[in-house]
Symmetry: none
Subunit: 196 residues, 4 copies
DNA sequence: TATGAATGAGTTTTCATTCAT
DNA sequence: AATGAATGAAAACTCATTCAT
C-alpha cells in the first residue's frame, strides 16, 4: 500500500483548508505551506502563484461537476429527475468536502471581480447545460412551455447555491437529514412552484 | 446656493465606482481619494478605515432594502404580488445604480469569509422577512402548504441574486425590456414552478 | 538660510553613496533608506523602483555632461582645446564627486546588459558630439584627415573612462597633481600619438 | 569514437550564451541548466556556485589573452606591430566568439564592484604588460619619450574595449571589413595621434 | 476641514543551494 | 555522474494608516 506522498496534492489539500478557514485574500502563502507541512518554496515549485492554486482547485472540481451534469443529462431519467440528480450531486459534494465547496463557491463562483472573471466561461457552461435540460423538458412536454428556460436554470442553480451558502455561513456541520431534505425540496420548489 | 460639497458623500460615491471597478480587495485607498478628487488624508478624516467605507455603503443600502421589503409585506397585496414588489424593487435598484448593487452583492452579501461575516445578521433579516411572506401566504391559502417556506424564500432570493449576477458578469447595460421581463418571470418561475 | 530638507534629494544622495559602496545589484533598498535616514516606504513615495533611482541619477548627471560638451564645442577654442576642456570637465567631475561618477560609469555606462541598454541613445549622444568635434577639426585642418573620426572619438572617450576606472578601482583618493597630469596627458596622447 | 559529452564543457558554453543574453545578475542557474540541456543539480556537481562559472569562463579566456600579449611582446616585431598584434588578437577573439567576449568585458572587466574586484590583479597584468611594451618602445626610440607609458597603455586598451563595446551594444554581427578596419585604425590612432 | 508627506509592518515571490535517490 | 524535488533566506514592493501643518 503506497503511502503516496505527492507533495503537490498535499499542498492542494492544505490550501483548501486554509482558503476555507481564512479566505483567499486573507491567508498568506506561508499559511498554506505550514498547513501542508512543507517548505515555503515548494509551493512555488508546484504553483506559480497563490492564484494558480485556487485556479487548479476550481478547475479540478468544476470539471467533475460538468461531467456529473453531462451524465445526468445523458441518462434516461425524466427532466425532473435529471435536476434532482444534479442537486443531489452538488449537495453530496458539499457533504463530502464542505471546505472545497465553500472555496469554490465563495472564492470563485461568486467573486465577480477578481477571480470569477477568469472563469466565467467555464462557470457558464454549467448554467447552460442546466438550461438545456429545462429546455428539452419543455420540448418533451414534461415542463411548462411558458417559462424562460435560462431563467429557470438560474432559479435552480441559484437555489442550490443559496442553500449551500446558508450551510457555509452557518458554520455547523449539516446533518444527513438536512441533506436529504434539501435534495427533495429543491426540486419540489423549482418544479412545483409556490402556487396552490 | 446649494452647491453642496459634502465631501463625505463625494468620497462614498467615488468608493462605489472604485469598488465596482476593481473590487474591494484590489483597490487602494488612494484610488478612492483620486476618484473623489480629494486629498488622501481626507478619506481618513471621514472614515476610520477602508472597511468602514464599504460598511457604510452596505448599511445605507440594505436598510433601504429592508424598508422596501417591510413595506411590501405591510401592503394589502396578495403574497404573490408582495414577492413581485420585492423583485421589482431589487431589479429597479440595480437599474438605477448598477455599481452600488454590484458592490453590495459581490463584496458583502456573497463574501462569506471576510466581510459578510460582519453583516450576516443584517443580511439574514431580509431572507427571514421574505420567508415570513411565504409562510403567511401559505397560512392564507395563497401558497401551497407542502413547501418549506425558508427554502422557498431562498429560492426566490437566490434567483433574484442570480439574475443580477448574470447582469453584473455580463458587463453590458441592461435594456428596459430585460428589466420588465426579469421582474415578471422571476415571480412566474418561483410561484408557477416548472411542472406542467 | 534655508536648511532644505528635500527628502527626495537626501535619498538621491544617499543612493549615490550606497551604489558606489556596494554596487547597484548588491545593495538593498533598505540600505538606501537607512543611509538617507528616512523610512523605507518614503523611497517608494518618491521613486517607483530601485532602478528608477539609478535612472534619475544618471539622467541628471549625463545632461550636465552633454551640456558641458556642447559648451566646449560652441566655444572659440581650437579643436584640441575643446577636447582638453571636455577631459578637464570629466576629470573635475570625478574629483568633485567620485562616488557619483563611479556609479554612472560602472553601473550605467559600462553595463551593456541590464541598465546601459535603456540609455544607449543618451550615451551615444556624448560620443557623437565628440566625434563631431574631431571631424570639424579635420575639416579645419587642425587634425589629420586620415583618421576615422568616430574611432578617434572612441579613443578619446575610452581613455578618459579608462583613467577614471583606474582611479575607481584604485580606491585611493586622487591627488590634485594626478588630476592635472591626467588632463594634460590625455590630450597629449590622443593628439600627439605614440610615434616619434 | 569521440562523441565526447563533456557535460562540464557543455554547461560552460551554455553559460556563455545565457550570460551574454540576459546578463549574469539577471539569469538564473536553471536558465543555464536548461540551455545546456542538463539537470539542475548537475551544474552544482561541476561548479560550486553561479559565480564560479563566470570565474572559470573569465580565467580560461584571460589566460589565453595574457599568453597572446606575452607572445606578441616576445616576438621580433616593432613596438607598433606588437600593439597591432594585440589589437588583432582581441578583435579576432570577438569575431570568433562575440558572446564570450561580451561576458568577459561586461560582466567582469567592467564590473568594478561586484565581480571585477576579485580579478583586478589578473586584469591589471594585461594592462601592465601593454605598458611595458610601450615603455620598451620608448627606450628603443620607436615611441616618443614624452608620453606617460601607463596612460598610453590605457589609451590603447581603452580604445579596444570601447570599440568592442560599441559592437556589443550594437547587437548586429560585425562584417569582416569592419574587423580589418578597426585593427588598422586602432593602431593608427594610438600611434599617429590626431595632430597634423 | 483639508493636505499629502512620512511610516513601517506585512506579503509575495525569487532563486541559489542542498540532498536523497 | 545525473536528476530534480525540497529548502528557506533574502529582498522588493505595497499600502493602510498616521501625523504635522
Amino acid at each position: 500500500m503506497a503511502t503516496t506522498t505527492d507533495k503537490r496534492r498535499v499542498i492542494l489539500d492544505a490550501a483548501v483548508r486554509v482558503f476555507a478557514g481564512q479566505g483567499f485574500h486573507t491567508c498568506r502563502v506561508s499559511d498554506i505551506a505550514d498547513e501542508a507541512g512543507v517548505a515555503y518554496g515548494l509551493v512555488y515549485h508546484y504553483f506559480s502563484s497563490k492564484e494558480q492554486i485556487l485556479d487548479t482547485l476550481f478547475l479540478e472540481r468544476w470539471d467533475v461537476m460538468l461531467a456529473a451534469i453531462a451524465e445526468a443529462d445523458a441518462s434516461e431519467r425524466s427532466p425532473r429527475d435529471k435536476l434532482a440528480a444534479i442537486a443531489s450531486f452538488i449537495v453530496d459534494s458539499y457533504a463530502k468536502d464542505p471546505d472545497l465547496m465553500k472555496v469554490i463557491i465563495v472564492e470563485v463562483t461568486r467573486a465577480a471581480n477578481t477571480f470569477g472573471r477568469t472563469h466565467i466561461e467555464k462557470i457558464k457552461q454549467a448554467y447552460d447545460r442546466i438550461a438545456v435540460i429545462v429546455h428539452d423538458g419543455q420540448q418533451a412536454g414534461a415542463f411548462r412551455a411558458g417559462v424562460d428556460a435560462t431563467l429557470a436554470a438560474q432559479a435552480f442553480y441559484g437555489l442550490v447555491e443559496q442553500v449551500l451558502t446558508r450551510w457555509i455561513f452557518g458554520g455547523v456541520p449539516v446533518a444527513q437529514a438536512d441533506l436529504s431534505h434539501a435534495k427533495r425540496e429543491i426540486v419540489e420548489i423549482i418544479c412545483g412552484g409556490l402556487d396552490v
